[in-house]
């Protein structure tokens, strides 16, 4: 990314430098932020399609963790930039975090609301935001858990996610 100039981007897109700057007056930093946002929105959209069939909150969470972890760990550009220039991408990712947490929460809340044996008086809004934060935390830093293994993801969901919504 350090070596990619706005000129290169303009050339690759077959646009003039002036056109690129008209759309991204903030130059390269703005381009990076916007690219991060489009890319995350795209992944969340795919996620929405993937979990559309999920039967209940447990399935939604298991599929969200598996899909999210795969999306992060196999994203070539993200992994390459994390290796070579984390200082450029991480501030952009952090500034997208509130929006991403809200997007994930929006997608989790209906499944929480549809859980009939949920805790009495559970604040669905807050629970959705909490589970969204946990999803982001675990898909980016799973520790020694192999989230590619659906049983590992399920076990994580049952111990760390579901008890918040359903009394054990």
């Amino acid at each position: 990314m350090g070596k990619t100039a706005v000129d290169d981007i303009a050339q690759e897109a077959r646009l003039s430098r002036a056109t690129v700057y008209r759309h991204f007056p903030g130059g390269k930093d703005q381009l990076i932020r916007d690219a991060v946002m489009w890319e995350t929105a795209h992944v969340v959209e795919q996620l929405r399609e993937t979990v559309a069939e999920a039967a209940d909150l447990e399935e939604v969470l298991v599929e969200t963790l598996s899909f999210g972890h795969r999306a992060v760990s196999t994203h070539e550009v993200l992994q390459k930039v994390l290796q070579t220039e984390p200082e450029r991408i991480l501030p952009a990712l952090l500034s997208e975090t509130p929006w991403l947490v809200e997007l994930l929460a929006t997608h989790l809340r209906p499944a929480i609301a549809a859980t009939s044996d949920r805790r009495p008086g559970l604040d669905i809004d807050a629970a959705g935001a909490h589970l969204a934060r946990l999803v982001l935390s675990f898909i980016t830093a799973p520790g020694d858990r192999d989230l590619d293994d659906p049983e590992v993801a399920r076990s994580l969901v049952r111990t760390q996610f579901l008890p918040v919504v359903v009394p054990g």
């Binding site: 984390p86 952090l94 509130p98 947490v101 934060r133 982001l136 980016t140 830093a141 520790g143």
Partner: protein, 193 residues
């Protein structure tokens, strides 16, 4: 000498940032000669920074243990530990400068592979503070969950959950941490492995 230089280094960082602070500035700030600063830290700026960082981290860990010590129950203990850590970190001016102007120095340690390493180190250091309520494995998982929530809320604050506020933190712990814990003597040890 080290303590004098630590304080001076923190003062310099809170004014100029990490990149622009050098050992000469720190020596001048501490009122010692350049030669004695280099004698104390033959590794130069990098060695001094590592030493300052290690001391500040140890201070945060100690403040967490001190806060949990007198707590009557696990929930209050966890909340007190989180609040103590948040307050202690917020009180370090140098941290405020770095977060604002040099976030690229911090973020790699709190995201992706860096977060994995941080979670592992931090939960190992903090789990012993709660083993009077939990078996070691559950203590480790609970500490890890608290550190995950701390990092998440610290980087992306929720106005309803200020980590420096004891009541809001206790609510966070009661709603989202305690339900995941099965206590000593029960069959499920909250281990997700």
């Amino acid at each position: 000498m080290p303590e004098l230089l630590h304080d001076a280094a923190l003062a310099c960082i809170s004014r100029y940032g990490v990149a622009k602070t050098n050992l000469d500035d720190v020596a001048a700030e501490a009122g010692v000669s350049r030669a004695s600063a280099y004698r104390a830290y033959p590794g130069g700026k990098q060695a001094l920074l590592e030493s300052v960082f290690a001391a500040e981290v140890a201070g945060v860990v100690q403040s967490i243990h001190d806060a949990i010590g007198p707590a009557d129950d696990l929930g209050r203990g966890l909340a007190a530990g989180i609040t103590a850590a948040a307050r202690r970190i917020a009180s370090i001016e140098a941290v405020r400068f770095v977060l604002r102007y040099e976030p690229e120095l911090v973020l790699p340690h709190l995201s992706f592979a860096g977060l994995d390493r941080f979670l592992s180190t931090a939960s190992a250091a903090l789990a012993p503070a709660i083993t009077r309520w939990l078996d070691p494995s559950t203590a480790r998982h609970t500490a890890e969950l608290c550190v995950r929530l701390f990092v998440s809320h610290w980087g992306n604050p929720d106005p309803r959950v200020r980590l420096t506020d004891p009541d809001q933190t206790l609510q966070l712990v009661e709603d989202f941490v305690l339900p995941t814990i099965t206590r000593k003597g029960s069959s499920n040890h909250g281990n997700d492995h």
